[in-house]
Amino acid sequence: MSKKYDVIIIGAGISGCAVAWKLARYNLDILLLEKEADVATGTTKANTAIMHAGYNADPDKLKGRLNVKGNEEIREVSKKLNIPYKEIGSLVVGLEGDDLSVIDELYQKGLKNKVKNMEIVDRDWLFEHEPNISRDAVKALWAPTAGVITPWEAALAMAQNAVANGAEVKLETAVEDVLTESGKVVGVKTNQGNFAADYVVNAAGLYADEIAKMVGIEKINITPRKGEYYIYDHAKDFAVNHVVFPIPTPISKGIVVTPTVENNLLIGPTSENVESKTDLATTRAGLNEVYKGAKKLYPELDLRDTIRVFAGLRAADDTEDFVIEAAENIKGFVNVAGIQSPGLASSTAIAGYTADILRDEGLTLSEKKDYIETREEPVRFYEMSNKERAKMVDQNKDYGQIICRCETVSYKEILDAINSPVGARTVNAVKRRTRAGAGRCQAGFCGPRVVDILAQELGIDPTEVKQEEGDSQILEYKIKQLLGSKVMDNA
């Protein structure tokens, strides 16, 4: 334990990254730890990717207070950090036979939470602005401040900005214990050695209860709540213009139909408590429920052009609220736990709230003189015009080689994804940063190329290249290896 950090943040999901980003502007030594090989590989990579307007949550809960604030802040933050964000608005659509009074209740709740510009719209409005919506639609709550965002890019952008401001990020570093001395945090023990710090922020997502238990906090209890999804190719010829919700039930906002920032159509999620924090399996029943739910809002929707099914786990605390507070029993330990929906929408506000708690706990927050506010915009070839592409290729010929044909991702973009701060080390990390492999062929064509580039840039053998976590190697053997031949040496 040579260097001592001011703050160690456990977990590089959206919350941990946001806290790092918020704190990195101050004169502090910050270390962000992540057990996986990339940021944003847990709940942050598999959710509905929505910036909720803020009418759902109870005004008396932290969720209610932080959602609207986060929603307001993201406008500026997304510009400064170049995070793809579109404020397309949301609709809660009541169909014939639904309990339409819920719409008015949500509207009232939204007013209490100070959600701006909400309106209750009638069916004519709906048919004009959401032409494929069910003909059974009666009315809807329209919240124009809701939007869609790329969650992993948001986390990455914040982590990269934090690094630009001096924070350190250590991947594949799993916290095994929180070290304390006489009632005070002194650091953490990890699989990569011990790290000393005065403050530890627990943003471990699904595992936040386990980390909390390391300092004797028993009251946090995280239940993994699974949500299953279908995602469509952006070539699907089916217009959905808003984030469209059904009338919510007491436990869930229901099956949403929404475009993503990149114009893929996304439907889901289910909501089911599961036993295991690693149970990311979709099920036939769950997927059927998603499709059925989406069809209620959009009867003409079919499953053609779906490119992927996936499941994510919400980190739901028993209180069904965010648990953001300093530990009572141990000095210097702050929990940022139970961050489920609207956690993404609240992320910047969660970070601000956490910074306030740390300050109250005695941490000095003085802003750096040379604080860097912005993150340079990554080149995104897929959203450029041909003219802009031509200009880029003139500047650097590596843009001229397209690796992912479905999403138009160039060789240079993949090099940058690997070699920039918090660089990609896995195939999925490249995919999150560049969209290579996120298209309709699902890496059928670019997969071998990406494996090859990763191996070259990281200086490893292609058989060592991983898809994501654990033993997720893509290629197990060299040719003829299984036959015990020496031919493989020449391969």
Binding site: I231, A390, D394
Partner: protein, 426 residues
Amino acid sequence: MLNLKKDLVVIGGGPAGLAAAKKAYDEGIEDVMILERDFELGGILPQCIHNGFGLHYFKEELTGPEYAQRFINDVKERNIEIKLDTMVLDVTKDRKVYAMNKKEGFLEIEAGAVVLAMGCRERTAGAIGIPGTRPAGVITAGTAQRYTNIEGFVPGDEVVILGSGDIGLIMARRMKLEGADVKAVCELLPYTGGLTRNVVQCLEDYDIPLMLNHTVTAIKGEGRLEAVEISEVDENLKPIPETAKTIKADTLLLSVGLIPENELSKKADVVLDDRTGGPIVNEGRETNIEGIFACGNVLHVHDLVDWVTEESQIAGAHAAKYIKDSFARTNKCVEVKAGENVSYVIPQKIELEAGDRKRIPLYMRVSTPLTAVDINLYADGEKLYSFSEPFAKPGEMISVPLAQKTLDGLDNPNEIKVEIIEKEGK
């Protein structure tokens, strides 16, 4: 930006593009350019190192690379311009082609005619929505073939294959030859999707079990694939839960269908056929957009490369005619319709006034396996003639010639219809 002008631009340097370019050249169009996104010509053939290619066209048995090389040599001898590692980003309906490569940067090419020959891609696990986790080790059979035969890596050693398309069958044998344990090939339908010869030579000869009426109902494993759950399906293709069993596997290869790659075609406003996934074309393989032709797997998925060659020669010849102005379509067409048991027919329409042709091959597939069939052709409900075949399978394309003189004998027909039915009392 580099501005170029070419009589003919062929998009794709696989078997379709090569044959179309060669044919157009031989028909008098020497200003031809092939744009290929890979680092070499041949399309998918270089990774198809097994034999069985060319039996129809060359009357001899070749491997994929050998078949491709013959056309590559032909194209090179003709000084046809080839741009490798070049990605086409856009095609417009007035035949401007926008492309990019590392050497020259951005290219804008004004083309007299365009042949679309982009081939097809494989349907993925996501597209068919197999429930379960998302571990490494679940890849399409064609990607596995590329890893094995081009890159020199074997994906894994305990293999299950879903789908009995030709690439799946070929890869079952290929993985076995690499020393892997190929546990089963599961096919949802009661019959295989591939060629009979591949079932015999790739599965039966190697004792690899073919499980018809079976599908993968769950993918298991967190990092790498650990197992797959397979289940028998009922007559509605619904899995029967009681039949579910788990097979340990580190690799699941998918051979569950091929999809023509028409993203560029759509940019040029080319109209596609729902049944084939490819453009609607006339007998010259010209799409609804004048001067834009399509052939090979971008038009419809072929089982034999020999048919791709034949079809691409048709497209190349017609593109040449179009450029030379010796053929102008009138759009006075007879529609070609798929009748009973026929899933599609190519071309979808035939120009009635088209000069010097003798016969028009009609390519078709049956929608279900049949034995002892009559292939009947009708014009506006009236039977023209019929052929007999001992059997017809969805995995094997049928080519039926329509003679020009038959067409000439008809008085402004609206519709030609093909049906394939089993003989009565067979």
